[in-house]
Amino acid sequence: MKQRSDSRFISFVAQFKQNRAALAGATIVLLLVFVTLFAPQLSPHDPIKACLDERLTAPCMEYPFGTDQLGRCIFSRVLYGSRVSLSVGLIVVGIAATIGVVLGIISGYCGGVPDEIIMRLVDAMLAFPSLFLALAIAGILGAGFINVILAITVVEWTRYARVMRGSILSVKENYYVEAAKSLGASDFYIVTRHIVPNAITPIIVVATLGIATVILAAASLGFLGFGVQPPTPEWGMMLNDGRLFMRRAPWLMIFPGLAIMITILAFNLLGDGLRDAWDPRLRERRRER
């Protein structure tokens, strides 16, 4: 079995390497992480300090993306904004995936009543358009980093539970689980040693695409005024600020929007690439041509 998963991993890497779009996505993601870590070093100005003399300056050498209504450097704010987006993305996906995976395991492995309860709850959660529900929660709790995370996590965990349950059900059919059971292994041992390692890859694919969804949701909340507290730079909020100055200073809304789009695009490319490299069904189909 070890060998089997090894060879599968190698072909997975080989597939992924051939996918140029996915490699581009991975490169942008790495670049984003770099920007997030070194935002203070990369930023030419303090992203928060207002400079009223320099209000609504068009992009120039000093301010590559121009300045906003308070004279703050938009380039620096965009760089710093990646911190909120990326950290919300990672934290929410981390928590949501953990909750979803645990519930998915319980649901898939135990079956019966726990499965029924969890899956009905998932169905009920999925009945709500996700932004509506996230907005209601974030709106009631009030703006703030933690509240944004809470609100989006509540709507995001369901997908992981479903995927995990699905892959457990398919792994459970496999002979080595039966074999382990007949050898008298405990449930905990079977789940951690045999089921989870085999079911975790689809979760990684879903999580990568999930980061894109979360960043979009967080930006939407920020745009509607339920994101992080000002003056922390956040892309969605910057866009909303820019709306009012659309005629005079369109750069206020051009650059943050571009930043959101590139970030989401990068995670989508990466996630699509991981999925294509993993899903043998898709791979076979490509081979036919």
Binding site: R286, R287, E288, R289
Partner: protein
């Protein structure tokens, strides 16, 4: 006189893993009213050979050689001209009736479609003809059945419907691809009987991996292996005096002969063995078989084999 003559046919197509050499320099003649069995294991290129006759292969395929039908080279026809051959002159019964029938169209309509197209009948007349065809393949209650969807048919009935579809426009030639695959024994017997009846006045290329079925239906049999023809003879000669070691092995693997499987696996069509394609699995292989490629030679009258034993 031969109705269809294939000369020097090569069919290759590119894939991610390399070029699949499905058909390698095949010469074959099918006479008028002859029923020829094309025998081989899965993946030997027999379906591709069948498909290439009516040019149902992906556009990336390279086809070399000639396929003359009534004297015209089918490979040189325009797309429009070959469409007039398909279904009307040469009908193909594809394998696997469950996936080859369109699930959202009524069976009768799927049969009537070709009749409308090739015989210029109107909708109602075509449908009536379709019902007739279903009766001809012995589907009971044909009028009602014509208005049903494929999933309402049993496996054997679907195969019958496929046969009806192939016969609908009274084609001169039929290419039947594994029509008995996956059917249980009784149903298989019925289908064989039906195939035999409906093709008495027709030319047929009968593609199968089932020697027993081929023996019942076919006048002549040719054995295909790794994209090449290994042996050709009339049915009796193939069974009484199989010449090629592969044919012998194939016969020995029949349940009635003791189920002795040929050792090894059939080669990938991407990476073909050198010399004789069969040498890695052959008990009689020597140095020459590994390096030199044997030709198909007439060992006895009208009995051909591709093996150095007879050279």
């Amino acid at each position: 006189m031969s109705l269809l003559s294939i000369t020097q046919l090569k069919v290759h197509f590119p894939t991610q893993d390399g070029i699949v050499k499905a058909v390698n320099t095949i010469d074959l003649e099918i006479a008028n009213n002859e029923r020829l069995g094309l025998i081989g294991e899965t993946g030997c290129g027999k379906t591709v050979l069948g498909m290439s006759i009516i040019r149902l292969l992906p556009p990336s395929t390279t086809i070399e050689g000639e396929i003359r039908y009534k004297g015209n080279d089918l490979l040189k026809l325009t797309e429009k001209e070959i469409r007039k051959i398909r279904g009307k002159e040469i009908a193909m019964i594809l394998q696997n009736p469950t996936t080859s029938l369109n699930p959202v169209l009524k069976v009768g309509d799927q049969i009537a479609e070709a009749i409308k197209l090739h015989q210029g009948l109107d909708r109602r007349a075509a449908k009536a003809k379709a019902v007739e065809m279903l009766e001809a393949v012995k589907i009971p209650d044909a009028t009602k059945r014509a208005n049903e969807y494929p999933h309402q048919f049993s496996g054997g009935m679907k195969e019958r419907a496929m046969i009806a579809m192939g016969l609908a426009c009274d084609p001169a030639m039929i290419i039947a691809d594994e029509p008995t695959k996956g059917l249980d024994v009784t149903v298989k017997k019925q289908i064989v009987k039906l195939m035999k009846e409906v093709t008495t006045q027709k030319t047929m290329l009968f593609i199968t991996h089932d020697l027993g079925v081929a023996a019942e239906i076919c006048d002549n049999i040719t054995v295909m292996y790794a994209g090449e023809l290994m042996e050709y003879a009339n049915t009796e000669a193939i069974f009484k005096n199989p010449m090629h070691p592969y044919t012998q092995g194939f016969l020995n693997s029949l349940p009635s002969m003791g189920l002795k499987a040929i050792k090894g696996m059939s080669p990938s069509l991407i990476d073909l063995p050198s010399g004789c394609r069969f040498h890695p699995r052959c008990d009689f292989a020597d140095a020459k078989c590994r390096t030199e490629h044997p030709e198909l030679i007439e060992v006895e009258k009208s009995h051909y084999a591709r093996c150095f034993q007879y050279a």
